[in-house]
Structure formats: structure tokens, C-alpha cells
Symmetry: C2
Subunit: 296 residues, 2 copies
């Protein structure tokens, strides 16, 4: 799996044919996105979910696309998150995703890695991403169930939910539930959700990932959410997810192409110089750039 | 001004020729981005800055691209923000930006509106955007000085600064400084900035926008920040901003093109159906979409 995912991160032709071959064997895994601000304990929660799932006999893959994650920072063996417990367990696969210069970027590599883990027979695939903005959540939203992880003090995220700036997730997990401000947080969140314009209110589950409390309930809530969709609902959701995935990856590729032109194309460079000298206006310069990138 | 900006929002050909004509007359205004999570008081702060600037005799334009802003929600005449005080003042222009279906989207319309206000002789142009993610800040970063507005309780944003997930702004403004948690917030922010890997630490100014306290100091800090760049430094910063602007607008146009193909193109629709039936893999489907959009 590690080798295949590396091929996909590199955008290698071998990776392409692997995806073609394994695509018909995907769709069995329950895919879950864990998103939220940095520091709320998403990595610890992933580790706690892995422990819980392994105890029930399920196999699991974890993909981290969070640059602030202890996973990504290489603290895989840190005592705190205890992922070392799972290191020799063949039923667990953990990987922090990188771009490695591939055109479609992190999003594309992550979507494909998710399929590799799915086709390899993992029962659950968790994708951990950081952020409260739309773009950060995008990667985590091409999954069966999106969990927004907050902690007491996540006032900005709660405001964003309330203001309709952030999409309502499927499940909200308030981690660090023993924090002194947890009660205030819960009240604020309930108020925000009742004020938001969304039609459905997501269930709120409280956890303390460090000792695993609430993690079983969190997983049960995730599974219930998926099951509530029914077979048709899940198929429809996955159809919509696929279209969103294509959109995200195509835009990432277009953005990479635009970046290449901006950095190195002679015609674009000349336009930038003329723009700077105020001999060319920004709209005309955009058109030069767009034409250089896409030949229209 | 209102009519020209509407033309630009519509992407009308007349708007294009206006931009060509006024472009040589831009570059005089001090442009400031106010960004930050919803609910921290960015609109009230904009109003307080307008009051302060008008008292010193400067003219000012305000562009709001914040869907959660009281401006954007049409509460322009709300007592709280007192923008009504400025309504008959020809030295003030206030507008909430919309996309109105234009290809380059909100970012493009906002960048161009900024130039209209600049060329029209406004001494200062403020751009208010919501968000703590990179994409939201993008619009506000094509300015001379970026101000991140926080309030006590903005724990997520402080974590994002600390984790390096959010870019370090030029100035940080802690609004609602009389809030009981303001002291804790200040300590947390100082710790976060000292831990962050950024080489330069932005000045932190405390305000209470509702009574205008600290607003004079905030503006002085913004001006100092701009002046510290020197003429060459400012010219270089604007060069980089222009390149970033072209990139943002070209990507927005490419994304719009991809969206159109995804929604209506027959070949793409067929690819989606085959994808759904697992007869086509996602990488192959992305290539169909990309080709449909850009003809490669």
C-alpha cells in the first residue's frame, strides 16, 4: 500500500493503472472525514478511534493531510497519541499525505489513497484535515460522514457555524470534554446550531480522546449517520462526492498549470512587466495568463 | 462609482474599458485588508476607522466581501455600527460585494472595485473579508497592509497562527478589549506568536470598535507598517500582490469553466455516469473533465 500511495503522490503512470485496476473493488469501506481547527485533538481522536475499532476487530486506515498534525510532524511514536501501539498491527495503516510536486496536489493524492485503502479491504478509512475554511474542509467532505472536531475555546468555529460561513457537518465532536469551559462551549454550540439556517441539526458527541471516553459513542453516531442514509441515500451521496472530487482535482490541476505559467512563461513574464509599468491593466493581464495556460 | 462597480461585477465589456482607462491613475490609495473570524467586530471596526479617517479629513472607501457581515446583510443603517453617520458624506463610499454570476467571481470584482475607489481619489480603501482559512484571506492579502482582527475567544485563530496553518498578518487587532477574557487572549496570542516559526512578529493593537478606543492607534500602526516598507519595498510588495491577484483571478475563471462543464457538458455527463457505474476510474474521469474545459 505504501508503495502504491507513493506512486500516486508522484503522479506516476504506474499509479494510474493501479487506480484503474482497483477502482471496481472500492466502495466497501466506511470513509470518515475528521476536520476542525488545529489543536483540538484530531490526531489523538484518530488514534483513539483506531484503538476502539481494532478492539471490535475492524481494520482501519488513517490519512492525515494536516500540516499541524503530530502525525505529519513525524511524532508518530509520541507517547501521547499512542499510535505506537498499532505500529506492528497489520490491520492498521497510517500515513501522512504530502504533495511531492504532483500536479493535482494533495487533494488528488488523498482521494486516490483513500481508494487504495478501501480496495485493500480496510473496513474504515479516516481522513484527518485541519481548518475551518471551506477549502480545508473540501478534502474531508468527499467521504461518507464528515465530523467537525471542536474543543472548549473553539469560539471562531462556532461563530462560523452560526454565521453560515461554515457548512454544517454530519456530526460534531466536542473533544476535551473535561475542560473547565466545556459547559459554556456546549451552550454556545447549541445556541449557534439553533440560530443557523440549516434544516438538519447534527448530533453533538462529547469525547476525551486521551482516555478514550466517548469514542465508542462517537463511532456509533458516525455509523448511525451513514445507516440513516440508506443504500440509495449513500449511493446518491457518493455520486455527489465523486462530482465534487472531480471538480476539486480538475481545479487543482488548472491552478498548478496557472502557477507554472506565472513562474516561467516568457509571454506571461512580459505581461507582468507591462502590468507593473501600468502599460497593461490587470484584466488584460489575466487574459494573457489564462491564454498561456489553456491556449484559448 | 456604484455604476462602474456594478459593471465590473457583471463582467460587462464596458467595465473592461473603464479599468483600462483608470489603471494608470491607481496606486495612490493606502489599501488595507481586515480579515478574521465572523463575529469579531470587523464591520464595527471598519465603521470606527471611517469615523476616525473622516475626522482627519481623509476620504475612504469600504468594500465588504463578508457574507456574515452586517453590511452584506443589509444592516447598513443599523444603530450599532452607525454607518448612517457617513451616508450623506461624499468622502465615504461603502459597498458590499456580490458575484452576480460573473466568471472571475467575487475576488476579481473586489480587486477591480478597489482600483475604481483608488482612481476616484479615495485616500484609503478598506476591504473586509471573513475567515481564518487561506482562501478567505486571499482576497484581503492583495493590499498594502493585512490586519487580522480577533476577539477574546478567538482560540481557533490563535491556534492556527501557532501551528503555522495561517499566514502571519502585518498587524493583529484584538477587538472588544474590555471583554473579561481579553487578558487571557493577549497572553495566549503572545505565546502563540513567540512559538510560531515566522521571522517577524506583527504588532498587536487593542481596540474597542464600539466606542472607538484604540482605533487611532490601530490606524497609526497600519500607516507605520506601510511606511516601514519604504518606496521600493511598497513597490515590490505591490508587484507580488499583482502576480497573486492574476493567479487568484485566473484560477477563479478556470474553476467557473470547470463548473460549467460539470453541470452541463454531455461528454462530462457521460463520464460521470460511467464513473458511477465503476466503468471509468476517477483519474480517467478527471481527464475527460479537464479536456472538456480546456480542450487539451
Amino acid at each position: 500500500m505504501a508503495r502504491v500511495i507513493s506512486l500516486l503522490e508522484d503522479g506516476a503512470a504506474d499509479g494510474r493503472s493501479v487506480i484503474r485496476d482497483l477502482w471496481p473493488h472500492t466502495g466497501r469501506a466506511l470513509t470518515v472525514g475528521l476536520t476542525g481547527p488545529p489543536g483540538v485533538g484530531k490526531s489523538t481522536l484518530s488514534a483513539a478511534l483506531v484503538t476502539f475499532l481494532r478492539a471490535t476487530g475492524e481494520t482501519v486506515g488513517v490519512l492525515s493531510v494536516d500540516p499541524s498534525s503530530p502525525f505529519t510532524k513525524g511524532a508518530l511514536l509520541g507517547d501521547r497519541i499512542r499510535l505506537s501501539d498499532h505500529f506492528l498491527d497489520p490491520g492498521v495503516y497510517i500515513r501522512s499525505m504530502g504533495t511531492r510536486g504532483h500536479l493535482g496536489g494533495l487533494a488528488e493524492a488523498t482521494f486516490l489513497a483513500m481508494r487504495v485503502l478501501d480496495a485493500a479491504g480496510k473496513d474504515a478509512v479516516l481522513i484527518e484535515t485541519v481548518g475551518v475554511g471551506q477549502s480545508e474542509i473540501e478534502v474531508a467532505s468527499v467521504v461518507d460522514v464528515v465530523v467537525l472536531v471542536l474543543q472548549p475555546g473553539s469560539g471562531d468555529a462556532v461563530q462560523a457555524l452560526k454565521a453560515g460561513v461554515m457548512e454544517i457537518p454530519d456530526v460534531i465532536c466536542v473533544n476535551k470534554r473535561d475542560h473547565p469551559d466545556a459547559h459554556a462551549m456546549r451552550a454556545e454550540l447549541t445556541r449557534a446550531l439553533s440560530l443557523s439556517l440549516a434544516t438538519s441539526r447534527p448530533p453533538v458527541v462529547e469525547t476525551d480522546a486521551r482516555d478514550g471516553s466517548g469514542v465508542e459513542e462517537l463511532w456509533a453516531t458516525i455509523v448511525r449517520r451513514r445507516d440513516a442514509l440508506g443504500a440509495d441515500g449513500l449511493a446518491e451521496r457518493r455520486r455527489q462526492s465523486l462530482a465534487r472530487e472531480l471538480r476539486t482535482v480538475a481545479i487543482a490541476r488548472a491552478a498548478a498549470r496557472i502557477g507554472v505559467m506565472l513562474d516561467g512563461d516568457a509571454v506571461v513574464g512580459e505581461a507582468l512587466a507591462r502590468l507593473d509599468a501600468r502599460a497593461l491593466d490587470p484584466l488584460a493581464a489575466v487574459e494573457v495568463l489564462y491564454r498561456a495556460a489553456f491556449g484559448e
